[in-house]
Symmetry: C2
Subunit: 195 residues, 2 copies
């Protein structure tokens, strides 16, 4: 047997990335084998290499895609107006973007050390770009006199850590829905940097 009925790269390609993402989020990059991924996709391990040059690229591709999606989505939100409303927009955007993507968030956080140095620096740069967007808001708020933080860079990371932490324990069937969580976190963020 060789080519299977109904097989098509437009189907198999995305399925490989999806399956790899789910398995790596669940067990970790090194704990997941190419054969395990192939098995869940329904092909032999060798078939994966029509879609990725190696396992490392598989990890890198999903992390880069996630970060590109994040930065792209951030571009589309309207960050106008005063610093307070910008910070609210950013906070709600972060939660709304991350909560439906628990696996991507998990992998992008936990598997950084499994990236090759070259790939790591690419992802790190994208993360840095995202942080800079928030930092710009905080700086503007300080200029406006509506925010008071001792150290803008530290506050930036603190807020992002707080917001991303939500993704690590949120489950869709919990007692609080996304809208409620947005409000709770916005309340915490808003006050944390207030004058």
């Amino acid at each position: 047997m060789a080519r299977k009925q109904g097989s098509h790269s437009d189907i198999t390609g995305p399925r490989i990335l999806d399956t790899a993402l789910r398995l790596i989020a669940q067990h970790g990059f090194s704990a997941v084998s190419m054969r395990q991924i192939a098995s869940e996709v329904g092909v032999q391990a060798g078939a994966l290499y029509n879609y990725t040059p190696d396992k490392q690229s598989l990890l890198f591709d999903m992390m880069r895609e996630h970060m590109a999606d994040l930065l792209g989505a951030l571009q589309t939100v309207d960050l106008q107006g005063n610093a307070v409303s910008q910070l609210e927009t950013f906070t709600r955007f972060h939660i709304r973007f991350h909560l439906p993507r628990p696996d991507q968030v998990f992998v992008s956080y936990m598997e950084l050390r499994n990236l090759s140095p070259r790939n790591f620096s690419v992802i790190e740069r994208m993360r840095r770009d995202y942080e800079d967007a928030l930092e710009a808001i905080l700086r503007q708020g300080e200029a406006e006199g509506v925010f008071a933080v001792t150290d803008t860079r530290v506050a930036t990371r603190a807020i992002i850590a707080m917001l991303t932490g939500l993704s690590h324990w949120y489950r869709g069937d919990g007692r609080l829905d996304i809208a409620a969580l947005e409000t709770i976190y916005w309340d915490l963020v808003r006050k944390s940097v207030a004058v």
Copy 2:
């Protein structure tokens, strides 16, 4: 060759745990082999099994030890007085305890999914105990009327995520020392839950 000069379980035992901790923090549990650990300790792989029944126990032991240290240290701090000063004590304690232990923090966060279900529930319970200590402070502050949080449980996790996030990027040679960071974070935490 068999037993080596100067060999002693009081030395080799801790060295195995230390080495395993460092390597696992660096590369991840599944990416580190027993032979790699043994090699850095300076023994053969078989010798590790005089100190641990298997690789899983190695991971579990270091995580349990870390959490036990954390809960033990928390017991020793004086959490008296009003809620605000208790929260400050907790915040500074958390930073002061975690910053000098980056590897333990990293492993205890990243490797939860590599614990067996039985071991996971043990660690999870200890984490829960730690969270409960902070939650109690927040509840007391609400009773005193000095804190205002929409949801105490969520605020607890948000604060811990924010504080632990610091451990993920802090490097001893940075521009800010521990005392400065304590102050910055205490400022953020204090305001985030303020009325």
